[in-house]
């Protein structure tokens, strides 16, 4: 898999991680010469493509994953994985090994010079299964994803299978749509392997082939945006130190005069250092260990011994495609959009892409939703990409003032920040990735005004809370997702068993079927025919702004489709469900 720049691997720089080597198996079509047919092909086994594969697997859908390499992400790239990413990956059983291995953090400290001007807490409340962030090397994340895909057994992982071309101009036999681009004809992929070339005709393709996407180029699609001139040194060092588990950011530290610096702790005694170098820095010179070592010494202290794990010098860009869907091809992750790393919005944004897309494809493939549902991928993820680009571009701008006035304002903001709290809100060292709210989506039903905007609004993602299930500790989010859920908040004392039976039966008969999940304030589960999640701390009711009778309709990606403060009728809920899958109701 592609790293930044292989030339950056110099003498004296050695990664302690030993890369797995995944086996190449000769695809049957290489010998038969026939065109293979597949329903879903994922091009690229990066974190985004692999996350899509495991989510598909959990939904019972087999996929083929093609990757041009035979190992995980080379070099040193993503480290910060957000709470939402972990929640998405927890549905497929990948988050637990990540959290076990990762460095959990939620605090950030911002310094000017050597003085702390303020700190922030990204998750100041308890009662969430997943932490605000973990730091974990991208290669570990990808390795866990591969392991999971293998365990689930529904993913055909084809290493050293490089897609070299794609043809959409296929006739699906439908004379009305011009024969292409409507998804009916699928896509024809040409794949090169060490043993020869073959072709796959895929009903749907996920283009997860990274920032230099072959598919994007082969289809002649544009990738527009902004390149920042500033150069940044990114180095990973290994040392025995016990720096706190937090994000530390310096503006104008004395150890790196006039520039900015970022320090993150990773597992395996590895630390990530980002140093701003200015626009005129020479990337070749600056990647030499003899240049890097003194910079690091000044930062971590002369008396600490360390080894260099990785060095690279980057410039950053923010770009996106005009549209992510092109007929049967869906661009996801870096292939669709890239951002500068401040805010950790690249990989985390990509995971949200597949969170949004996979369930839609699954329902359409299963004949439970109209193909029109797939149009909502662009409608929902283009604004999300814009949000990520806006935030990461602003952070980069703040770090690299382009003219005298912006330098002046920045100086004023930084120097006011210590004494005047308002100025802290203007200091921008990165706005860290949050789940996007699909505010304007046509899949949502208008909000129930009775909530007065409290709790998760339609389009927002679900909020976690600790619950008890039959007396055992559990988490609300683990009961939501991968199918439509009607989350009902009840008063168990007042609730009749008949109501639960009637509702779960009515909801199960809808298409797609809806699962009933019931949350109450006390556990009298034994009395009813369905387990009630006991809201032991009251946090579920509070976070969801619910009262007994409140109902949320949740999509398979755990985003809110509709909600009612007072229980709706089944037909009202069914109408919201139809809307959430883009089905036009008769009349």
């Amino acid at each position: 898999m592609s790293g930044p720049d292989p030339a950056a691997r110099q003498k004296g720089v050695r990664q302690s991680y030993s890369y797995p080597k995944y086996p190449f198996r000769r695809p049957a079509a290489v010998d038969s010469g026939t065109v293979e047919h597949q329903r879903v092909v994922i091009v690229g086994a990066g974190s985004v493509g692999l996350a899509a594969a495991v989510e598909f697997a959990c939904l019972g859908i087999e996929t083929v994953v093609l990757d041009d390499d035979d190992t995980v992400s080379a070099g040193s790239r993503a480290i910060c994985w957000s709470k939402r990413t972990l929640e998405v990956l927890d549905r497929s059983g990948v988050a637990e090994p990540m959290v076990d291995k990762g460095v959990i953090w939620r605090q950030g400290r911002v310094y000017r010079g050597e003085r702390e001007i303020y700190n922030f807490d990204l998750l100041p409340e308890a009662g969430h299964k997943m932490p605000a962030f973990i730091n974990l090397q991208q290669y570990h994340t990808e390795e866990y994803l591969v392991d999971r895909a293998v365990t689930l057994g529904k993913t055909d992982l084809r290493w050293r299978n490089a897609v070299v071309d794609i043809d959409l101009d296929l006739d699906d036999g439908d004379p009305d749509d011009g024969g292409d681009l409507q998804g009916g004809g699928g896509a024809l992929l040409t794949v090169d392997t060490p043993d020869g070339r073959y072709q796959i005709r895929a009903d749907y393709v996920l283009a997860a082939d990274g920032v230099r996407s072959t598919l994007r180029r082969a289809m002649g699609l544009e990738f527009q945006g902004r390149t920042f001139e500033e150069r940044f040194l990114i180095t990973d060092i290994r040392m025995n130190a016990d720096f706190p588990m937090e994000r530390r950011f310096w503006f104008e530290p004395s150890f790196h005069a006039g520039q900015s610096a970022l320090l993150h702790r990773q597992p395996d005694n590895i630390y990530r250092i980002d140093l701003q170098l200015g626009p005129d820095a020479d990337p070749v010179e600056e990647s030499k260990p003899e240049r890097v070592i003194p910079r690091v010494c000044k930062m971590v202290g002369e008396d600490l011994d360390f080894d260099l794990e990785w060095i690279s010098v980057y410039t950053f860009t923010c770009r996106r495609m005009e549209r992510f869907r092109h007929g049967p091809v869906f661009f996801v992750g870096d292939a669709a959009h890239v951002v500068s790393p401040f805010g950790a919005r690249g990989g985390n944004g990509g995971i949200q892409d597949i969170d949004n897309l996979v369930w839609k494809l699954a329902l359409v493939l299963g004949g439970e939703a109209p193909a029109a549902l797939l149009d909502s991928y662009d409608a929902e993820r283009l604004p999300a990409a814009d949000e990520n680009i806006l935030n990461s571009a602003r952070s980069t701008d703040f770090m690299t003032p382009k003219n005298q006035v912006s330098a002046d304002f920045r100086r004023a903001v930084l120097s006011l920040a210590e004494r005047a709290p308002f100025a802290r809100t203007l200091v921008n060292s990165g706005r860290l990735s949050l789940p996007h709210v699909y505010a304007a989506t046509a899949l949502s039903t208008g909000d129930d005004d009775a909530f007065a905007g409290d709790g998760p609004v339609p389009g927002a993602s679900a909020l976690d809370a600790p619950v008890l299930l039959n007396g055992a500790q559990s988490w609300l989010l683990n009961h939501l997702g991968q199918r439509f859920v009607a989350l009902c908040f009840v008063d168990p004392e007042a609730l009749g068993d008949d109501w639960i039976k009637a509702w779960s039966k009515a909801l199960a008969s809808l298409t797609p079927s809806v699962d009933l999940v019931v949350v109450g304030r006390s556990d009298i589960a034994s009395r009813s025919s369905i387990a009630i999640l006991d809201d032991i701390s009251g946090q579920a009711f509070a976070r969801w702004a619910a009262k007994p009778g409140s109902v949320y309709l949740l999509r398979p990606d755990q985003h809110v489709a509709a909600r009612w403060l007072e229980a709706p009728t089944v037909s009202v809920l069914a109408a919201a469900l139809a809307r959430a899958i883009a089905r036009k109701e008769a009349g």
């Binding site: 602003r394 005298q404 120097s415 004494r419 005047a420 709290p421 308002f422």
Partner: protein
């Protein structure tokens, strides 16, 4: 007597900061200084209360001294 608030009050801080920097785009140094001067006067009028403005001036002055 009015009191200067230094707590966050700007509703969309990042949007504001970007708009502020954008307003200066393409201006000469002199034009920029002029824009800032006008902006200060406009905002001062919005604040209104002289006592508050005096406290703001004091804070900015301390800040200017602390800076070098």
């Amino acid at each position: 007597m009015g009191r200067l608030s230094t707590e966050p009050r700007i509703t969309r801080p990042d949007d504001f900061y970007e708009a502020l920097i954008k307003a200066h785009r393409g201006l000469s140094d002199e034009q920029s200084r002029q824009l800032n001067a006008s902006l200060i006067l406009i905002l001062a009028n919005q604040v209104g209360d002289f006592e508050v403005l005096q406290q703001a001036l004091n804070l900015a002055q301390e800040d200017g001294v602390a800076r070098d």
